[in-house]
């Protein structure tokens, strides 16, 4: 086992980015619902957001100079890892209340963990990001934990 996760990298665990606030629009819900092939009218009309809509709502919008040559945004919450190629990994989401047009939601992301595993084709780095989404009153809307894999 190589040691890709150095003590310096580990110091980044617990780092939190500045909260980001976004307005939910019916048009954005409709675009997401069409793009994902939803069947249900309440989603296609944009009356309420499908469960994974927040991924689109809070995807980073950065300038093109901040995209890597493979088209991925440079996530400033993350340290520079020694492996670069991203694979999707996994998601865990706890839902507390639905998302509607007109909602103003705030997301706060924290880097909560990183570790190394040996894959069949070489070492892999795993890291975990927790995103808490709240409404304007500070009530929880959802919590999401993403595990991403670098190869």
């Amino acid at each position: 086992m190589s040691n890709l996760i150095t003590p310096e990298l580990l110091q980044n665990i617990g780092k939190t980015e500045a909260p980001r606030t976004e307005l939910v629009t019916r048009r954005d819900i409709r675009k997401y619902s069409v793009a994902t092939g939803q069947h249900r009218g309440e989603f296609l009309r944009g009356d309420v957001a499908p469960p994974m809509f927040h991924i689109a709502l809070f995807w980073e919008v950065v300038e093109m100079s901040e995209l890597t040559p493979d088209g991925v945004f440079i996530d400033k919450l993350l340290p520079e890892f020694p492996l670069k190629r991203a694979m999707a990994g996994g998601w865990k989401i706890d839902y507390f209340k639905p998302i509607h047009p007109g909602d103003v939601l705030t997301a706060t992301r924290t880097l909560t963990d990183m570790y190394e595993k040996q894959g069949s084709k070489g070492p892999l780095i795993f890291y975990e990001l927790v995103m808490k989404v709240e409404d304007e009153d500070g009530a929880p809307v959802l919590n999401e934990r993403i595990t991403r894999i670098l190869r």
Binding site: Y32, A35, R40, L67, G71, A86, M87, G90, I93
Partner: protein, 141 residues
């Protein structure tokens, strides 16, 4: 007329309706546009093949996660809501692949009024592509 799903009639082992999915390049474009995702493995075939070594354009992982939630909500049909959901992308799928959803009831928590579901998207070869798990809370629980 479709019968309304009732919590009391849900049993461990009940199967969710099967569904097939296939993401073509237009859906992949719309999905990545809705996210604002420019990752070239989804739309630039020479890059995906020559640089990343993929045999095709990669179906976005979270899109398959979304499909799992759709199958749960279609089964619930308004009788309950999604309380939690998790999934992982075990292997890549490619635009044009025919993918198969299956799901079943893994547990019923009567006092809590919740049902735990095991979910799966597999490919034509039978490989596990996207396994998942969801907890649904019933309104009539």
């Amino acid at each position: 007329m479709t019968e309304v799903l009732k919590f009391a009639s849900v049993d461990v082992g009940d199967e969710l309706p099967a569904r097939e999915f296939s993401c073509d390049i237009i859906q992949s474009f719309l999905y990545n546009a809705a996210l604002w995702n420019a990752h070239r493995i989804h739309f630039d075939y020479p890059y995906a093949a020559e640089v990343e070594g993929y045999p095709g354009l990669v179906v976005p992982g979270p899109l398959m996660g979304d499909w799992l939630t759709q199958c749960v909500l279609d089964w619930l049909d308004g009788a309950g809501t999604l309380a939690s959901f998790e999934y992982s992308n075990r292997r890549a799928a490619y635009t044009g692949d025919v993918l198969h959803f299956s799901g079943k009831v893994a547990a019923v928590d009567v006092p809590a009024g919740t049902v735990t579901l095991e979910l799966l998207i597999s490919n034509d070869a039978g490989d596990v592509v996207t396994p998942g798990k969801a907890t649904a809370r019933f309104a009539n629980g």
